[in-house]
């Protein structure tokens, strides 16, 4: 041994071997680096595909749920439709259990080979005390590609703003009507004496008649009156055959007397009253030859000018709720009745996807 060490022959080999060891040590991280790049690409590819499958599952489930809700609504209406109103049928305490059981029974397989999945369905319903009823449906979507899974959880929320929104709407309408008749004395044009018209007239502002309003053109000369804003009549509206009154705003008719057609005897032609807004009446007396059309609603007011009720379709006489498409075609109106369409003043379109027409239920995504 000693001989070899002192001789130093073949030392070059040692140096070369050392170099090889050092070089190979350096190569290892280089190779692993290159390999990890490849692995990363592989992983990314798997992730992209798994995410695609997961998103597919999500779309699939949303659509399935949408369809299921529509079906449930149809079925519920068929089962309980006799005599019950939509309001009752789709009340949360009725609708939520029914829908929940329907969804649980669903078989959910988004992709044929089942590489996309929907798991962990949970339902959370609102308590009866909550103002806005809802049903939260939580689901986990998973996409699997080459063993790599990508998941996400989403909550679909079904809300039932129907009741809340409607009550609010009705309240705000009544509030508006109140404001309307409370502003009676602020009308821009006021007549304290009886006002008689012999020819066509047009008002651009609000008008108040403290006494009667009479259109006294004889049968041959029909008078047309236009009110661009509101009209208040405290006494009597007295118009003759073929006369026409058109009001763009609301009409307040605080008289006990009926809406007349013609003062004298004879004649059988109609007179028209068209109201684009609401009509407030104290007495629902309409002459046999009067044609009245109200685009919005008819309210009955008492002697103290308080709204007693909103007149509805159930109160048949002298209201006719079943008129044609609009107030544009007088032939469809019934004579001697107040024809009203019951249109609501504001847009009733609720933001967000409305997938449940008629039932008052809406679906929205809470978290993604």
């Amino acid at each position: 041994m000693r001989r070899y060490v002192s001789q130093e022959k073949g030392y070059a080999l040692l140096v070369v071997l050392l170099t090889i060891v050092i070089t190979s040590l350096l190569i290892v991280p280089l190779i692993s680096n290159a390999l990890s790049g490849a692995v990363q690409v592989e992983t990314t590819e798997e992730i992209v595909k798994a995410e695609n499958l997961r998103d597919y599952s999500q779309r699939y489930y949303r659509q399935l749920l949408t369809e299921e809700i529509t079906e449930t609504i149809k079925a519920l209406r068929e089962i309980e439709g006799n005599g019950k109103s939509d309001r009752e049928i789709f009340a949360p305490e009725n609708f939520i259990p029914y829908l929940t059981s329907d969804i649980i029974e669903l078989n959910i397989f988004p992709v044929e080979n089942q590489r996309g999945r929907i798991d962990n369905l949970t339902f959370t319903a609102s308590t009866p005390e909550e103002a806005l009823p809802y049903l939260d449906i939580e689901a986990e979507y998973t996409g699997i590609h080459e063993g790599r899974a990508k998941s996400k959880t989403e909550i679909l929320r079904l809300t039932f703003p129907g009741l809340a929104a409607e009550t609010e709407e009705l309240l705000s309408d009544i509030e508006k009507i109140k404001q309307f008749y409370e502003r009676k004395d602020e009308a821009a044009i006021q007549y304290s004496e009886k006002k008689t018209y012999q020819e066509h007239f047009n008002y651009l502002d609000t008008v108040l008649y403290q006494q009667s309003l009479e259109m006294s053109g004889h049968a041959q000369s029909d008078i047309q009156g236009f009110y661009e804003k509101d009209l208040y009549i405290e006494e009597e509206l007295d118009y003759s055959q073929n006369d026409k009154i058109y009001v763009k705003g609301n009409v307040y008719y605080g008289s006990d007397k009926q809406l007349k057609t013609f003062p004298g005897q004879g004649g059988n032609r109609e007179s028209y009253l068209i109201v684009e807004g609401d009509l407030l009446v104290r007495e629902l007396k309409v002459h046999n030859n009067s044609k009245v059309c109200v685009r919005r609603n008819v309210y009955y007011i008492d002697r103290n000018d308080q709204i007693e009720n909103l007149l509805t379709a159930e109160m048949v006489n002298p209201l006719n709720p079943s008129i044609g498409e609009s107030c544009d075609d007088p032939d469809t109106w019934e004579k001697g009745k107040i024809n009203f369409m019951g249109e609501t003043g504001q847009d009733t379109v609720v933001p967000g996807p409305q997938i449940t027409p008629g039932s008052g239920w809406q679906i929205s995504t809470v978290t993604e």
Binding site: E8, K9, Y11, A12, L13, V16, T19, I20, T23, I27, L30, I31, A34, L35, G37, A38, V41, E42, T44, E45, V48, K49, N52, L53, Y56, R59, Y60, Q63, L64, E67, N107, F109, P110, V111, E112
Partner: protein, 158 residues
């Protein structure tokens, strides 16, 4: 080797030189193999990225095209590829070219078939679109799916 210890020497022997040469050539050879391998690797991974990208591109293009109101027409025909103008056609069929001038053969398939015993895509009011890419041996190398809602189609038409 006495050089290292401060002794004078005439130079390395021929034998030493030869040995060094052989060793170095081994190292160089290993390195060159490694580099060619990594080059191949890079090419391969690039191709893979390319394939996924192309697959996604075709899927989006197809979905866009179907949204334009052509879906029923496409459904009536068995060969769906012919509807998609962004595909090139040769004797071997419809193809699309990757970044490395590699040819891929896409297969676009739209259906409303059953997905399980009772449920069908049709009853879901949706269409299922599959876009797969195949290589020369007709082996599927990538596949992506999309679901198109009927309601979205109507919006697309408006």
């Amino acid at each position: 080797m006495k050089y290292f210890y401060g002794h004078k020497e005439r130079g390395a022997t021929l034998l030493e030189l030869l040995a060094a040469l052989i060793i170095i050539s081994f190292i160089v050879l290993t390195f060159s193999i490694f580099f060619t391998q990594s080059q191949l690797f890079t090419k391969n991974t690039e191709e893979k990225i390319d394939i996924v990208n192309l697959n996604q591109y075709i899927l989006y293009e197809a979905v866009d095209f179907l949204h334009e109101g052509n879906i029923e027409e496409v459904l009536q025909n068995e060969v769906h590829n012919s509807y998609f103008s962004f595909l090139e056609q040769s004797e071997t069929g419809y193809f699309i070219q990757g970044n490395n001038d590699q040819m891929y053969y896409p297969f676009i398939f739209v259906h409303r078939n059953e997905v399980q015993q009772e449920e069908s895509i049709q009853s879901l009011k949706a269409y299922h679109v599959t876009v797969s890419l195949r290589d020369e041996t007709n082996e599927t190398i990538s596949e992506l799916y999309e679901l198109i809602y009927e309601t979205d189609l109507k919006e697309g038409l408006n």
